[in-house]
C-alpha cells in the first residue's frame, strides 16, 4: 500500500467518529440554548403560578348595623369623635350576629380574626361617604384576614392549607361558603394602597409612585447630561489623554457593581451634602450616576451612526459646528438616544441594591406625593415582602414582581418599537 492510500483509509476510518463528534457538538449547542430558554420559562411560570392568586382576595358578607352607641359616634362631622370611635365594634358585632352561638374568650377571638383588622376602618370610610347610613343596617362585603384568604383560596383549589386556622374557623368558613357569603373578588387594595404589615391590606401603589418619582428625577438628570457628554465626546473632544481618560472612566463605571453607587450616595449625598434619606430625590441622584454610562454609550452610538456627509453638507452651507450638531446631527440621532434612555430607565427601575444603602428600604405606609417625601420603590418593596414571614406575602411578592416585569416589558418593547419605527438606515 502506498502512503497516499494509507492516509486515505485512515481518514475514511476516522470520518464516522468525526461526524459523530460534529453531531455531538451540535447537540451541546442545542442543549445550552434549551437550558437558557427553560430558565426563562421556569422563572416566569414559577412567578405567575405563585402570584396570580394575589389579584383576587377574599371578602366576607355580613350585616352591619351602624349603631351609634356601639361606635360611640353620633356626629360624623366631629373629627375627635371619629378618631376615638370604636370601629372594630362594628365588625365584631356583625360577626357575633352571624354566629350567635359562640361563647368563650378564645372562640370569640378566633371569630374576630376572620376579618382583617382594617375592616372596621373601611366601614368608617363607607360611613363618611354616605352618612345617612348611621343608625341603619346594611349587608357589606368586608375584607377577610390574610390567613382566611390563604386558606379559602387553597381550599377552592382543592388542597386546603389550614395550618394557621383553628378547626372552628374552618367550619365557620364552610358555613359561610354554603350560604354564599364568602367570595373571591378583584383585589383593588393591592393596586390602591401603600405598604402594610397586614398582607391583606398591603398594596403596591406607594412603591409604584415612589418608583415613578425616582425615575422622573433620574430621567430629568441623566438624559440631558448623558446626551451632552455624548455630543462632546463624539463631536468636539480633541483626541488627547484627557478625553481618553474620560472614556476609560465611562466604560469602567458601566461595569462597577451597583452597590458601590449606593456607598457613594451614602457617603457623599447623605453624609456630606445632607440630602434627606429615603426620598425619591436621592434615589434619583444615585440612579442617575448609575445609568449615565449606559445612556452616554448608547447616545454616542446613535451620534456615530449619523453619516459624515450630513455634517459636511451643513458645514458647506456655512453652519457653525454647533449649528451642525444642534440642527442636523441631534435630531437625526434622537430616536437612538431615546431608545438608550428607555433602556437606561428600565435598568434603573429594576435596581435595588444601591437604594438599600440610601435608606429607601424603610417601612413606609403613606403614598409619597413629592420628591422629598419618604418613599420606597417597587424592587425594594419586593425585597421587603420577600423577607416577611407571613405566607400570604409570598403571593403578594410574586404579584408585585409580575407588575414590575410588566412595566419592564412595556418599556423594553417600546424601545424596540421606537428603534424599528424611527431608525433610519443610511
Amino acid at each position: 500500500m502506498s502512503k497516499a492510500t494509507e492516509h486515505l483509509s485512515k481518514i475514511k476510518h476516522s470520518l464516522a467518529g468525526r461526524n459523530r463528534a460534529e453531531a455531538r457538538f451540535r447537540w451541546y449547542g442545542r442543549i445550552a440554548i434549551f437550558i437558557g430558554l427553560a430558565a426563562v420559562a421556569v422563572l416566569f411560570g414559577d412567578i405567575i403560578n405563585k402570584g396570580h392568586g394575589a389579584f383576587r382576595t377574599t371578602y366576607i358578607n355580613l350585616d352591619v348595623s351602624y349603631d351609634q352607641d356601639l361606635i360611640g359616634v353620633n356626629n360624623l362631622a366631629d373629627s375627635e369623635q371619629l378618631s376615638a370611635g370604636n370601629w372594630d365594634a362594628l365588625t365584631k358585632s356583625a360577626l357575633r350576629a352571624k354566629f350567635p352561638n359562640i361563647s368563650g374568650r378564645s372562640d370569640k377571638r378566633r371569630l374576630n380574626n376572620l376579618l382583617s383588622n382594617g375592616a372596621g376602618f373601611d366601614l368608617k370610610d363607607r360611613l363618611l361617604e354616605s352618612p345617612q347610613l348611621l343608625g341603619k343596617t346594611e349587608s357589606v362585603w368586608m375584607l377577610a384576614d390574610d390567613d382566611i384568604d390563604t386558606y379559602y383560596k387553597s381550599w377552592l383549589a382543592g388542597e386546603a392549607y389550614a395550618a394557621r386556622l383553628s378547626d372552628k374557623q374552618v367550619i365557620w368558613i364552610g358555613e359561610l361558603h354554603q350560604q354564599g357569603l364568602i367570595k373571591l373578588q378583584f383585589n383593588s387594595n393591592f393596586f390602591m394602597r401603600g405598604d402594610s404589615r397586614e398582607p391583606e391590606q398591603a398594596g403596591i401603589l406607594g412603591a409604584a409612585i415612589g418608583s415613578f418619582l425616582t425615575l422622573i428625577v433620574t430621567l430629568m438628570l441623566s438624559f440631558p447630561i448623558g446626551v451632552c457628554a455624548a455630543i462632546y465626546l463624539e463631536e468636539f473632544a480633541p483626541k488627547n489623554r484627557w478625553t481618553d481618560f474620560i472614556e476609560v472612566n465611562i466604560n469602567n463605571l458601566a461595569a462597577v457593581p451597583s452597590i458601590i453607587f449606593g456607598l457613594l450616595g451614602l457617603a457623599i449625598f447623605i453624609n456630606f451634602f445632607h440630602v434627606p434619606r429615603s426620598v425619591p430625590l436621592i434615589g434619583g441622584l444615585v440612579l442617575t450616576l448609575m445609568t449615565l454610562p449606559t445612556i452616554i454609550i448608547t447616545s454616542r452610538a446613535a451620534i456615530k451612526s449619523v453619516p459624515p456627509s450630513i455634517r459636511e453638507a451643513a458645514l458647506g452651507m456655512g453652519a457653525s459646528r454647533y449649528q451642525v450638531v444642534l440642527h442636523h446631527v441631534l435630531p437625526l440621532a434622537l430616536p437612538g438616544m431615546l431608545t438608550g434612555a428607555i433602556i437606561g430607565m428600565a435598568q434603573a427601575l429594576g435596581e435595588t441594591a444601591p437604594l438599600l444603602m440610601i435608606g429607601m428600604v424603610a417601612f413606609i405606609v403613606d403614598i409619597p406625593s413629592g420628591f422629598s417625601d419618604p418613599a420606597t420603590v417597587l424592587p425594594v418593596q419586593i425585597f421587603l415582602w420577600a423577607d416577611s414571614p407571613e405566607r400570604a406575602f409570598i403571593e403578594k411578592t410574586s404579584a408585585a414582581i409580575m407588575v414590575l416585569l410588566s412595566f419592564l416589558i412595556i418599556m423594553n418593547t417600546s424601545a424596540v418599537w421606537l428603534r424599528k419605527r424611527l431608525e433610519r438606515r443610511w
Binding site: F25, A255, I268
Partner: protein
C-alpha cells in the same frame, strides 16, 4: 421662597432675557438693512442675554444650597450656652438633631432647656434670613445680568462664539461627570476605610479568618468584641461566583457558538431575544426565585438522596446567578465570534475540517482573547452582584469550600452592616466601606484588564 420657585423664576427671567436680547438685536439691525448686518443671528443675542441673566444666579444658588445648611448649623452650634455645649462628635450630632427637630416642629418645645429652645429659634430665624437675602441677591444678580446682556447687543458683538463657548464648557462639564463620579467613589470608600483601618489593622482585615462584626453595646457584653477578618467573605464570594461561572460559561458559550455558527435565521431571531430576556430581569426577582423556589427544591432534592443541603446554600445562590449571567456571556461571545473573519472559516473548511473542528480549532482560538475578556467582565459582575446573595445566601461567615453549605459574601455583609440605624462612624459601618473598597478595587482591576483585552482584540480584526 422655595428653591423650586426660585428656579422657575430664574427660568422665566432667562426666557424674558432671550426675547429682550433678540428683540433689541432686531431693533438695532432693522434701520441698517435687516439682520444680515448683524454678526450673529438674532436668537444668539437672545441666548447670550438669557445666559448672562440665569447662569451666574444658578451658580450662586448651587453654592448656597451646598453650604448654607452647614454654615447656619455651625453658627447656631457655636452660640449655644456653655453648659449644654457638646464635648465630642456624638453629642454634637445629638444636640444638632434636637435643635433642628425643635425648629422644624417635629419635637415639642415644652420641657426643653432654654438654651436649646433659643438655639432652635435662632436656627429658624437664620434660615429665614438666609433664604430671603439669598433670593434678593439672586434677583439683583439676574437683573444685572439681564441689563449687561441687553447692553452688549450691538452690530459688531460676536454673540454666537460667546454662546458657543459657554455651551462647549457645559458639554465638557457633563463629560467630566464620569471622572467626578469615579473620584467620588474612590474618595467615599477610601476615607471611611482609612478611618476603619485605624481601629482594625489592615493586615487583620485582609488575612483574618474570623468575621463577626457584632460590636458591644455595653462594655461587659460577652463575645461581642467584634472581629473583622474578611477571608471567609472573600472565600464565600469566590465560591458563589465559581458556581455561577460553572453554569454560565459553558451554557453561555455553547449557545453563542450555536447561534452564531449553526442556527438558522429563524431560530436566531427567536432564541437571541428570548435569551436576552434573562438579562432584563431585575436581580431582586432572581433573588426571590433563588430563595423561595430553587433553594427549597435543592434542599428537598438533597434530602431525598440523603445529602444535607443548607437552605441557604451557595449552590442555590450561585446557580441562579449563573442563569442571570448566561445572556451576558453569550452576547459578548457572540460579538467576538461573529467578528472572526469568514476567510478563516472558509480556509479551515476547505482543508476538509468539519464545522465543529473549524469552530474548536480555528474560530475559538482566534476569538479567545475576546472570550476571556467577556468572562472576566462576567466574573466582575458575579462578584459585585448583590440582591441574589442578599436574599438567597446566608449571613453566617463560614470558611468553607463546600457549595452545599451556607456562606456569606462581601456584598451581603455590606448590605447587612449598612441597613438599619447605627452610628455612622462605628467600626461596623466603617467595615462596610472597607469591604466596598476591596470590592471596588477588585472589580476595577478586572474591568480595566478585560476591557483592555476586548478592545485590543477588536482592533486586531478591524
Amino acid at each position: 421662597m422655595q428653591t423650586i420657585n426660585i428656579l422657575f423664576l430664574l427660568f422665566g427671567l432667562g426666557l424674558f432675557g432671550f426675547y429682550l436680547g433678540r428683540g433689541r438685536s432686531r431693533a438695532i439691525a432693522n434701520p441698517l438693512g435687516g439682520i444680515r448686518q448683524l454678526h450673529s443671528l438674532p436668537s444668539y443675542y437672545g441666548l447670550h442675554t438669557a445666559l448672562w441673566c440665569a447662569l451666574p444666579s444658578l451658580f450662586i444658588l448651587g453654592f448656597w444650597l451646598i453650604f448654607n445648611e452647614a454654615l447656619i448649623n455651625s453658627i447656631v452650634m457655636s452660640s449655644v450656652p456653655i453648659d449644654i455645649a457638646p464635648i465630642d462628635t456624638a453629642s454634637y450630632n445629638l444636640l444638632l438633631n434636637k435643635v433642628t427637630n425643635i425648629a422644624s416642629g417635629v419635637m415639642p418645645r415644652d420641657g426643653q432647656g432654654a438654651g436649646v429652645v433659643n438655639a432652635a429659634d435662632s436656627l429658624s430665624s437664620l434660615r429665614v434670613t438666609s433664604r430671603w437675602s439669598m433670593t434678593l441677591l439672586l434677583l439683583v444678580l439676574a437683573m444685572a445680568g439681564l441689563f449687561w446682556g441687553w447692553y452688549k447687543v450691538s452690530v459688531d458683538f460676536r454673540a454666537r462664539p460667546a454662546v458657543e463657548k459657554v455651551m462647549q464648557n457645559l458639554l465638557l462639564g457633563c463629560a467630566c461627570l464620569a471622572i467626578f463620579t469615579t473620584v467620588g467613589i474612590v474618595f467615599s470608600v477610601l476615607f471611611e476605610s482609612i478611618q476603619f483601618f485605624r481601629t482594625v489593622p489592615i493586615y487583620d482585615f485582609v488575612f483574618g479568618l474570623e468575621w463577626s462584626p457584632q460590636t458591644a453595646i455595653r462594655e461587659d457584653q460577652v463575645g461581642s468584641s467584634g472581629s473583622f477578618g474578611a477571608v471567609p467573605l472573600f472565600v464565600g464570594t469566590l465560591l458563589v461566583s465559581a458556581v455561577a461561572m460553572f453554569i454560565a460559561v459553558p451554557v453561555g458559550l455553547m449557545s453563542a457558538i450555536y447561534l452564531a455558527e449553526y442556527a438558522s435565521k429563524n431560530v436566531r431571531t427567536f432564541a437571541k431575544p428570548a435569551l436576552e430576556i434573562l438579562a432584563g430581569i431585575p436581580t431582586v426577582v432572581y433573588g426571590f426565585f433563588a430563595a423561595l423556589t430553587v433553594a427549597p427544591f435543592l434542599r428537598d432534592l438533597g434530602n431525598s438522596f440523603g445529602v444535607s443541603i443548607s437552605s441557604e446554600s451557595a449552590l442555590a445562590a450561585g446557580g441562579v446567578m449563573g442563569i442571570m449571567i448566561i445572556p451576558f456571556i453569550s452576547s459578548l461571545a457572540d460579538d467576538v465570534i461573529t467578528a472572526v473573519p469568514q476567510s478563516m472559516r472558509d480556509g479551515s473548511l476547505a482543508m476538509g475540517a468539519t464545522q465543529s473542528e473549524t469552530i474548536l480549532k480555528v474560530v475559538i482560538p482566534a476569538a479567545l482573547p475576546g472570550i476571556v475578556g467577556g468572562i472576566m467582565l462576567a466574573v466582575s459582575r458575579a462578584i459585585g452582584e448583590t440582591m441574589i446573595v442578599v436574599m438567597a445566601a446566608g449571613m453566617a461567615a463560614n470558611l468553607t469550600a463546600n457549595p452545599l453549605d451556607s456562606v456569606t459574601t462581601v456584598t451581603v455583609q455590606i448590605v447587612t452592616l449598612l441597613t438599619g440605624d447605627q452610628e455612622f462612624d462605628s467600626p461596623k459601618t466603617l467595615a462596610a466601606f472597607a469591604l466596598g473598597l476591596m470590592l471596588f478595587t477588585v472589580t476595577l482591576m478586572l474591568n480595566i484588564f478585560a476591557l483592555h483585552i476586548v478592545k485590543k482584540y477588536r482592533e486586531q480584526y478591524e
